[in-house]
Amino acid sequence: MASRSLSVQQEEMAVSGQNLANVNNPSYADEQLDVSESAPLPTPVGDEGTGIQINGISESRNPLLDSQIQAEDSVTGSLTAQQTNLQNAESYVDEQITSTSSSATPDSPNGLAADLSNLFDSFQSLSADPSDLSLRQSAVASAQQVTAQFTQVSAQLSTVQANLNTDVQNDVTSSNQDLSTIASLNQQIVAAQASGGSADQLVDQRAQTLENLAGLANFSTSAESNGAINVSIGGVAMVSGVSETDSLETYNPGNGQLQVQAQNAGTQITLTGGSIAGEITARDGALASLQSGLNTLASQLITKVNTIYSAGYDLDGNTGQDLFTGANASDIGVNSNVAADPSQFQAAGAPGAAGDNTVALALAQLGDQNVAGLNNQTFSANYAQTVSDLGSAISSVNDNLNTSQAVGQMLTNDRAATSGVSLDGEMTNLIQYQKAYEASAEMITTLNEMLQTVVNMKTT
């Protein structure tokens, strides 16, 4: 009995040692030795205790908390991907309010808003003195600045979208690796449990892998009695028991924007969480709206300005040219003829009248007009709305991400309270086990002395 007690205390110390060693391992769940009183021996004076026995080692894992944390990881993963990419887009749009000194009026000097204002202002200047070559040059330069800003922002946003496609591709690959790992761990866990061994370490690994996967794509799980966990994504079974039944793959629906489908089942999967969902949401949501807003704005600017401009006359009496070339934000440009020679700017409403500003004035007044193709807003107001919409999208993501991180932190705390290792708790346990070990050893010493006394009685 004393000997069994010694070995139990040793085992307790081993478990504490294991807990202490994993104190900083986030996927580790606190382990305990399950012990019970060993079966008593019937004696004439009644049942006599035989000490303690080990039933096994168990870990403190709460499957409900695990699944809640996985769900929150998916939400956080999605929002983080959205935040990163939308903030990139925001920096490319470059509408940043600055104030260089305390007296300076805050404004946003670098973005398209200032360029659009400058364009219409330069048309105004030109209308006040349409024969002035420097004002013509300035109007052409403003037009070039607007087109350069449009094409630059458009190209940068396209890069962000292309990068998002690459991210979706990479995250799908990582998800498939996690699914394979989960299937393989299921296999090992089932085998270990079937042979009566401990699978705690494998369960910890699987929990960690599931959390990684949750950050990439949201999924649902169901536990099997043999210890395996089934994983399905978007309603399609990916891991069933010990086998990986399906995997994710990207496909191009025709517009170049990658979507996700199940490789074997061939069904499209609409993810609602995880970084893949965040990347697709950012790409097809706020980013697509931003690009579409810019394209509409550029296209309306091209059409409206050219309609007025092409009817005008330059200083040599020529007419019929366009000011802007291209069709949208990606390819808008300034007619190379007028760019090379500002005297060709068609500011007049009639030939041979250098002081005729009819067209320049109409172009200037275009800036104040509500355009039907821009939701009856002016060019500037429509652009301000587009920027503000992007800001609202990011602001909403920021708020949701803050909430999600707080919820994640709370759930992690809850799990730590159940499954985490407490250094102080383990140290206290160690002292308890040490004392119990000393007591058991003392019992053996006492028994030894008693036996020695009996032996000595015979020899004396």
Binding site: N24, D30, E90, E95, Q96, I97, T98, S99, S102, P106, D107, A113, L116, S117, F120, D121, Q124, S125, S127, A128, D129, P130, S131, A348, A350, G352, A353, A354, G355, D356, N357, T358, L361, Q365, D368, S380, A381, Y383, A384, V387, S388, L390, G391, I394, S395, Q405, T412, N413, A416, A417, T418, S419, G420, V421, S422, L423, D424, G425, M427, I431
Partner: protein, 312 residues
């Protein structure tokens, strides 16, 4: 509830992170004086600032347009005043010639009128500070009036080469004015011509040339019956132009004041939309710093403690 060792450090890092983030935001607000810098900070304020910025920029442009029109209007005013005194002189000569029979006096008057015609031509071809001819309508690049002279150097005809259009300049949203005037408008519509207009009967050069010719020929009766009334029409026409110019200048001045006021208002609204309340921000910054310091001190104190310190 059991508090695991990692949960304490995780919480500590999370709280410190939150406080650091708050401090960075408040610090940035304090140094820039702005509570809004990016669209995500306050989308509605950003929308308003971009619109106000565009309006303020347009307001500044209106001021520049007004200054430009004022320059031309001022040049025009000087020219019109000179023209008025010239017409008055011509009228006085015409009136003075009535009943004079001395051919030398009439000849001297005729020479004087010849000089007046040359002066009037000079005024008619006045250019503004930018080199634009102000009495050619929208045809501002070439002298609008050209004279034909006879063998003795007398002007026999003055041709108008400009047009009857004027360029309007916007000085406030939807409000346009023009400092340009056509030198001649016999079409019966549009802006009135300064030197000749069929609606008022003004035709200064023609009347001056007739006066000179009548003086040279001694036809004083024609001077009193035809040229004097004609010159009166010319003077009336110039006076009308001068009063029109005065109205334009006062309109410009009023519009300039409005535009300046508007820009000031828009600037002030932009400041209101984006400025950080420094007193509030600094107080919050100070509170956050205190919380951060307390978190660091308590954190290091608690993390420094362990049961192992007390085990021997």
């Amino acid at each position: 509830m059991q508090v695991s060792t990692t949960s304490f450090s995780n919480n500590f890092l999370y709280e410190i992170g939150q406080l650091q983030s708050q401090q960075t935001t408040l610090q940035s607000e304090t140094t820039t004086g702005l509570s809004v810098t990016l669209p995500e900070d306050n989308p509605a304020a950003m929308n308003q600032v971009l619109n106000l910025q565009s309006e303020a920029s347009a307001g500044t442009q209106y001021q520049s347009n007004i200054a430009q029109v004022q320059n031309t209007a001022s040049t025009s005013s000087d020219a019109l005043n000179s023209l008025q005194s010239l017409v008055e002189q011509a009228g006085e000569i015409a009136t003075g010639a009535t009943g004079v029979s001395s051919s030398s006096t009439l000849s001297s008057d005729a020479t004087q009128v010849g000089q007046l015609i040359q002066q009037a031509l000079q005024i008619a071809n006045t250019q503004d500070a930018q080199g634009n001819y102000i009495f050619g309508g929208t045809d501002t690049s070439a002298p609008p009036f050209s004279a034909t002279t006879d063998s003795s150097g007398n002007v026999t005809a003055v041709a108008y080469n400009g047009n009857t259009s004027v360029a309007e300049t916007e000085i406030a949203p939807g409000l346009t004015v023009s400092a340009q005037t056509p030198g001649e408008n016999n079409t019966g519509s549009g802006a009135e011509g300064v030197f000749a207009d069929s609606r008022t009967g003004a035709d200064l050069f023609s009347h001056l040339i007739s006066l000179q010719q009548d003086l040279q020929s001694g036809n004083t009766s024609a001077i009193s019956s035809t040229e004097t009334p004609s010159l009166t029409k010319d003077e009336d026409n110039v006076v009308t132009q001068i009063s029109g110019n005065a109205v334009l200048q006062s309109t410009l001045q009023a519009a300039g004041t409005v535009a300046q006021q508007q820009v000031t208002n828009e600037d002030s609204q932009m400041s209101d939309d984006t400025s950080a309340n420094l007193a509030e921000t600094l107080t919050q910054l100070s509170q956050t710093q205190t919380a951060y310091q307390a978190a660091l001190e308590s954190g290091t104190m608690i993390m420094g403690l362990s049961m192992m310190e007390y085990l021997s």
